[in-house]
C-alpha cells in the first residue's frame, strides 16, 4: 500500500494544479472530478476523459468529463448498453481498446461507430472499485490509435484511485464515518445516506431518464426493466440518445404506445 503513495501524491498534486471550474455551482466533489479529468488528459497521452458513476442494478450517470464530447461518449454507451465503460464495470478490470477500427473492438459495433464519428480512435476504461464494491468507471479517449504504455496504464489506474478517494470523501461529508464505526457500522434509520449535492446536480439530466422510465412503465403497462429496454430501443431506432428521448417523454412531447414494437 505504501508503495503506491508517491504515485497517488503526484496525481493529487496534478489535480490540485488544474484551475477550478468557472461555474461556482460545480465546485465541491464534481468540480474536483472535472479538474481530475482535465489533469488526466494533460498527464496521459489522451484527448478526453470522463467519469461515470454506476451501480450493479443499472444506475448510470456521467459525473464529470473533460469536455462535452466525452459526456456524449459516455452517455451513448448507456443508450446502447455497450462500450468499454460498460464492460470495465461489468468485468471489474481495465478495458483497453487501442484501436477502435480493429477487429477486437467489433464487440461494440454501435459504440465503435459513434466514437469514430466523434473523431476518437482509441478508448480505455478503468473501473472505480474498492475491494468487491464498485462505483463506476474512469474512461480515457484518444484521437489517434495506439497502445498506452505500461507506465501510462499505471498512471491511469492511479487517476482511477484518486477518483474513488474524491467520490468517497464527498460521500463522507454527507455522513461521516468515525474510527470505531468503520469496524462496527450501526445502520441509523434516521440518517439515510444522501447523495453529495454537487453529484446530485451533475447527475440531474440522467435522472430524467429514470422519470421517463417510470412514465413508460405506466404508458406501456410493462415492468421497469422492460420500460428501459423500450426506451433504449426507441432511441436506437430513431438515432437519438436516451437522454433526448427521455426529455421528450417527460416534457409530454413523446409517448410510447403499447403496440409500438
Amino acid at each position: 500500500m505504501s508503495g503506491s503513495e508517491p504515485r497517488l501524491a503526484k496525481v493529487r498534486a496534478l489535480v490540485a494544479a488544474e484551475p477550478a471550474p468557472d461555474d461556482v455551482g460545480a465546485l465541491g466533489t464534481v468540480g474536483l472530478l472535472e479538474q481530475l479529468c482535465r489533469a488526466a488528459v494533460r498527464a496521459l497521452p489522451a484527448d478526453g476523459a470522463g467519469i461515470s458513476v454506476m451501480t450493479a442494478n443499472g444506475v448510470r450517470g456521467v459525473a464529470a468529463a473533460s469536455d462535452p464530447a466525452c459526456v456524449a461518449l459516455e452517455e451513448v454507451q448507456f443508450t446502447l448498453g455497450e462500450g468499454p465503460s460498460v464492460d470495465a464495470f461489468a468485468w471489474r478490470r481495465p478495458v483497453l481498446a487501442p484501436d477502435l477500427g480493429a477487429a477486437s473492438s467489433s464487440r461494440w459495433p454501435a459504440y465503435r461507430t459513434a466514437a469514430q464519428q466523434a473523431g476518437y480512435c482509441a478508448a480505455f476504461a478503468f473501473p472505480l472499485q474498492v475491494g468487491a464494491a464498485r462505483l463506476g468507471v474512469l474512461s480515457i479517449q484518444r484521437r489517434s490509435a495506439g497502445e498506452l504504455s505500461s507506465e501510462a496504464v499505471v498512471q491511469a489506474l492511479t487517476f482511477a484511485q484518486v477518483t474513488v478517494e474524491t467520490l468517497l470523501d464527498g460521500q463522507e461529508r454527507t455522513l461521516p464515518v468515525t474510527a470505531l464505526t468503520a469496524f462496527a457500522p450501526t445502520p441509523d434509520p434516521a440518517r439515510d445516506p444522501t447523495l453529495d449535492p454537487t453529484l446530485d446536480r451533475a447527475l440531474g439530466s440522467q435522472f430524467t431518464v429514470y422519470q421517463a422510465q417510470g412514465m413508460a412503465m405506466v404508458d406501456l403497462g410493462v415492468s421497469l426493466a422492460d420500460a428501459m429496454a423500450r426506451l433504449q430501443a426507441h432511441a436506437y431506432a430513431s438515432n437519438r440518445t436516451l437522454h433526448e428521448i427521455a426529455r421528450d417523454i417527460v416534457a409530454g412531447r413523446l409517448r410510447l404506445e403499447p403496440d409500438t414494437p
Binding site: V59, L168, A179, F183, P193, M217
Partner: protein, 245 residues
C-alpha cells in the same frame, strides 16, 4: 532478551501483519496481539486500548481476562501509563508501581493491589498518528530490557499498520455502500415520480409533491414508498389509482 526463538518471532510477526483477510475480526485480532506480546517478553499480563471517535481510550482486549485486571485497563481512560503514552506518543517503560502513587493516584494502588510491581505502555503509533496503546504488567521491577522494548514496539507498529489498513478498507466499503444506496434511492424516487405523473396526468414536480405528502401523512420513508409505488402499486391505491377511475 526476548525469550522466544528467531523462528517463533518471525511467525508471530507474520501472524500479526495478516489483517487483510476476508473474515477479519477486530476483537479476535487484538486478542492475538496481546497474547503474542505476553509470549514474546516476560510479563504477567498484557492489555490493549484503542481510542474511540472522541479520542477516549477504550479497553479492547487482554491476554488474561481476570475481572480485577480488566478494571485496571478500563480506568486508564482517565489516568495511567496508557493515557500518558497515548497522549505523548512515547513509551512508558519499567515504571515502578510502588513509587507511582503520586503520578497515578488511582491506577498505581489498584495495580499493586493485584500483585504487579512494574508497568509499561507502548503507543500504537504510525508517524504522528497514535491510535491507542499496548499495556504490559510485570510482577518484579525493571523486567523489560532494551531488546524487549524494541520487540514489543515492533509488534505494536505492525499491528497499528494492519489496523489502519483494515480501517481504511472498511471506511471505503461503508462509504461505497452509502454512495450506491443514495444513488439507488434517488433513482427509485425518480422512477416513482414518472409513474405517478402519468397515472395522475400531472408534471413530475406535482407527482413528487403527491409522493412526499403521502409519505408524510402515512409516516413512511420516501424511498420505501417510492419502491412500493413501482413494485406493488395496488397496496397504496389512494396514491396509485387515478381519481375518479
Amino acid at each position: 532478551m526476548p525469550t522466544v526463538s528467531r523462528e517463533r518471532l518471525a511467525e508471530v510477526f507474520v501472524e500479526v501483519a495478516d489483517t487483510l483477510v476476508a473474515d477479519f475480526d477486530l476483537i479476535e485480532f487484538l486478542g492475538t496481539v496481546t497474547a503474542r506480546a505476553a509470549e514474546l517478553v516476560d510479563v504477567a499480563a498484557v492489555g490493549l486500548l484503542l481510542a474511540d471517535s472522541n479520542g477516549q481510550l477504550q479497553f479492547m482486549a487482554a491476554s488474561d481476562e481476570r475481572t480485577r485486571l480488566l478494571e485496571l485497563f478500563q480506568l486508564q481512560h482517565r489516568e495511567g501509563p496508557c493515557l500518558d503514552s497515548f497522549t505523548s506518543g512515547i513509551p512508558v517503560v519499567n515504571a515502578d508501581l510502588r513509587r507511582a502513587a503520586g503520578r497515578w493516584p488511582v491506577f498505581a494502588p489498584h495495580a499493586t493491589g493485584l500483585g504487579f510491581r512494574s508497568v509499561h505502555a507502548i503507543p500504537l503509533r504510525l508517524r504522528d498518528r497514535v491510535i491507542g496503546a499496548l499495556n504490559l504488567f510485570g510482577t518484579d521491577t525493571g523486567n523489560l530490557g532494551p531488546d524487549d522494548v524494541r520487540v514489543v514496539q515492533a509488534l505494536a507498529d505492525v499491528a497499528t499498520i494492519g489496523l489502519l489498513q483494515e480501517q481504511t478498507i472498511h471506511r471505503a466499503e461503508i462509504l461505497t455502500e452509502q454512495l450506491q444506496g443514495a444513488l439507488n434511492s434517488r433513482v427509485v424516487i425518480e422512477q416513482a415520480k414518472g409513474a405517478l405523473a402519468r397515472t395522475h396526468d400531472v408534471d413530475v414536480d406535482q407527482a413528487f409533491e403527491l409522493l412526499r405528502r403521502y409519505a408524510r401523512n402515512h409516516n413512511r420513508k420516501l424511498v420505501d414508498l417510492a419502491h412500493t409505488v413501482l413494485v406493488d402499486p395496488t397496496s397504496v391505491p389512494d396514491l396509485t389509482q387515478r381519481l375518479g377511475a
